[in-house]
């Protein structure tokens, strides 16, 4: 049984159908890339997995480790191990990054019936990870994402992922808005988190990111469903030929 199973998922927002019978399996420890043109439903899939309430699931199911998560609130999903690295991380004025990380981690641990992490353990975990990602102590003291550059926001997402240690990480266009140096730092941070116990769904429009985060499988999304799956070489083929070949197929 795959760790994540998306079965015949139909999703609407404001009466418009975005996902149209999407079926997808991601194995435990697998890194799956989802590629597709604009408007194909990539970000919708990410939000639906995380539990954003504006999206209306009309048909199908999403199973995590065999359990349906569609009825769960976003915080309950997070405690089950779902993590979404946002394409556009929001600024949270007045909430210090450290406070935010600690509140989130302890809330998840509490939900799972685990003890809260001690302050020294927590500080060490954050400091070590932040160091790798080039996140300064000063940034950790600042309010979450407030005044951060685009690259800093993306690095902060990876920091959160490293601290929260999810079982399923969904990375929504983590490469967008990054220059090549920032992209390498972010990809390096993600690669450090690759583990046989962690599945990843890497959503991207461009093949570039996949040079740095090399996927095990590539799925092509068009018009709200998976239209082709293959190995990492599929990404290169898309880069060369574009998405036009699939636009017609799904119609």
């Amino acid at each position: 049984m795959a760790f994540l199973e998306v079965k015949n998922l139909h999703v609407e927002i404001e009466g418009k159908e975005i996902l149209n019978g999407l079926t997808l399996s991601v194995e435990k420890g697998q890194v799956a890339a989802i590629m597709g043109p604009n408007g194909s439903g990539k970000s919708t899939l990410a939000y639906v997995l995380a539990g954003k309430s504006e999206y209306n699931v009309t048909e199908g199911d999403v199973l995590l480790n065999g359990e349906s998560i569609l009825e769960m609130a976003p915080d309950a999903r997070a405690a089950k191990g779902v993590f979404l690295a946002f394409q556009y991380p929001v600024e949270v004025p007045g909430v210090a990054t450290m406070t935010f990380l600690r509140t989130a981690l302890n809330a998840q641990r509490k939900t799972r019936g685990e003890n809260e992490l001690s302050t020294p353990e927590f500080m060490k975990l954050v400091r070590d990870t932040a160091g790798h990602l080039g996140i300064s102590q000063e940034m950790l003291r600042r309010a979450v994402n407030v005044g951060f550059s685009g690259g800093e926001k993306k690095r902060n997402e990876i920091l959160q992922m490293a601290v929260l240690q999810p079982k399923l990480a969904v990375l929504d266009e983590t490469d967008s808005g990054l220059d090549i140096d920032a992209l390498k730092i972010v990809a390096d941070g993600v690669n450090k988190l690759r583990s046989p116990d962690r599945s990843m769904v890497v959503i991207t429009h461009y093949q570039r990111l996949l040079n740095y985060i090399v996927p095990d499988v590539v799925h092509v999304l068009a018009k709200g469903r998976v239209v082709k799956s293959g190995g990492k070489e599929l990404a290169l083929e898309l880069e060369a030929k574009g998405y036009a070949q699939f636009q017609g197929e799904a119609a």
């Binding site: 995380a50 539990g51 954003k52 309430s53 609130a73 976003p74 915080d75 999903r77 997070a78 405690a79 993590f83 979404l84 946002f86 991380p89 929001v90 949270v92 004025p93 007045g94 909430v95 935010f100 509140t103 989130a104 981690l105 809330a107 998840q108 939900t111 309010a143 959160q160 929260l164």
Partner: protein, 434 residues
């Protein structure tokens, strides 16, 4: 024949008239003070209680909100205690039922600070002319002037730096409702620095009334941090007015925290008389149930080159009503004025109402002035972001409300007061969640 049209007096207005007639001869202060009272009462008598057709009182219709005028409070019978901010203050001056009570106070003499009874202080007209403050003609201020029963005068001597805050605590201490009219004066001489707290407390379940006024005079180059903490009982009606004159190159940081009371109006009338003043006037209001709190400011840039920031935040739950009215006036010669005002209301309930009324009246042509006002619910995108990290909904909401309030409280310079108010706000939130 007298053609003046005068609405029929409400029961509260009639009671105020009767109370003044009965108390006039007994109220403290002779000569100039008695004249001041009389003139102030005439202003009230001509206008009556302010109501919704009076622009400045549009949202706080006293005719409707103050159905009756309580009798004048008697002096406290027994010595009592006032809830304290532990370890924070150098001294506490306690004003009970509108009178300075030395026995309740804990105030050891501080070098450079002169404390006296307000009427003794003002008896010598050369010393200080009571009532010469911005906002003196406001009806609530006039009522205070007519009925003022006591208070203190604090004078901080030229150039001294008073490190620990001084608190002026107002308390209503009676089981039966009455009205109190405290009036105090704080004079900060040139170059001095002081932090002072005004607090308001009273019992729950008693519909007592407070009409307080504070005259604050800040000398050239002085630095004053002034925090007002309103923790009145749930049935109280309180109107507090501040008239502040700020001298050249002075710094004035005012902050008003209001969480208690049934109906509260905080009025600030400020005038910058000399160039180069820097003023920050802010506040946080936390409302639940059917509370009604109005923060009204009139900021007069009467001299050029002054900077002022007005920042207010209100959290509204239940069926509460929060009002912010801020008017910045820039006089013709007050060039290079830099004034920015912002009011933000966070609505936690569909039944709550927030009214923001920012106004700019600019008569100079080389100024930078602006205002902004918002009212809205918690941002659902922020809430989703927090929840997606595993933070449960109620905790995510509490964190966001606390952040909204905390950002404003962070403006307070004094660390101890800042911490005390952050804790008070956190307690308010915890009570809300239960």
């Amino acid at each position: 024949m007298n053609a003046e049209v005068r609405a029929i007096r409400t029961p509260a207005e009639q009671a105020l008239n009767a109370a003044y007639a009965a108390a006039r001869a007994k109220l403290p202060g002779k000569g100039a003070i008695a004249d001041l009272r009389e003139a102030a009462f005439q202003r009230f008598d001509a206008a009556g209680l302010p109501h919704r057709r009076i622009e400045e009182w549009k949202y706080t219709d006293l005719r409707a909100l103050m159905r009756e005028a309580k009798p004048l409070a008697e002096p406290a019978k027994a010595k009592g205690k006032v809830p304290a901010l532990p370890g924070l203050t150098a001294g506490r001056i306690v004003i009970v039922n509108g009178r300075y009570e030395q026995a309740w106070s804990e105030f050891k003499p501080v070098a450079g600070v002169e404390l006296s009874d307000v009427f003794a202080f003002a008896a010598d007209q050369k010393n200080y002319r009571l009532g010469e403050i911005p906002g003196r003609d406001d009806i609530a201020v006039s009522l205070n002037t007519a009925f003022m029963t006591g208070g203190v005068a604090l004078r901080v001597a030229k150039g001294v730096n008073i490190e620990k805050p001084i608190e002026i605590a107002h308390v209503f201490a009676d089981g039966t409702a009455a009205a109190m009219y405290p009036r105090s004066v704080v004079v900060v001489e040139p170059g001095a620095r002081v932090t002072f707290i005004e607090s308001f407390n009273g019992p729950a379940g008693v519909d007592y009334q407070v009409n307080s006024a504070l005259e604050l005079v800040i000398g050239e180059g002085a630095h004053v941090d002034h925090v007002t903490i309103g923790s009145d009982g749930d049935k109280a009606l309180r109107i507090s007015s501040l008239g502040v004159k700020v001298g050249a190159k002075a710094i004035y940081n005012g902050f008003t925290y209001t969480a208690g009371g049934a109906v509260v109006r905080n009025q600030i009338f400020a005038r910058f008389d000399g160039e180069g003043t820097q003023a920050s006037i802010g506040g946080v209001t936390l409302l639940k149930g059917r509370q009604h709190v109005d923060n009204t400011l009139v900021i007069n840039h009467a001299a050029g080159g002054c900077t002022s920031r007005e920042r207010f935040r209100t959290v509204l739950d239940g069926e509460s009503h929060g009002i912010f009215q801020g008017k910045i006036v820039v006089e013709p010669h007050a060039q290079k004025t830099d004034a920015k005002m912002a009011s933000h209301a966070l609505l936690l309930s569909d039944e709550a109402e927030a009214d923001n009324k920012p106004e700019l009246e600019i008569f100079a042509d080389d100024v930078q002035c602006g205002h902004g006002a918002t009212a809205g619910a918690l941002d659902s995108a922020l809430k989703f972001y927090l929840m997606s990290r595993g933070i449960p909904e109620n905790e995510a909401e509490a964190l966001l409300i606390q952040a909204f309030v905390g950002e404003a409280i962070e403006e307070i310079v004094h660390e101890g007061i800042r911490e005390a108010l952050l804790n008070a706000a956190a307690k308010w939130l915890q009570a809300r969640e239960q």
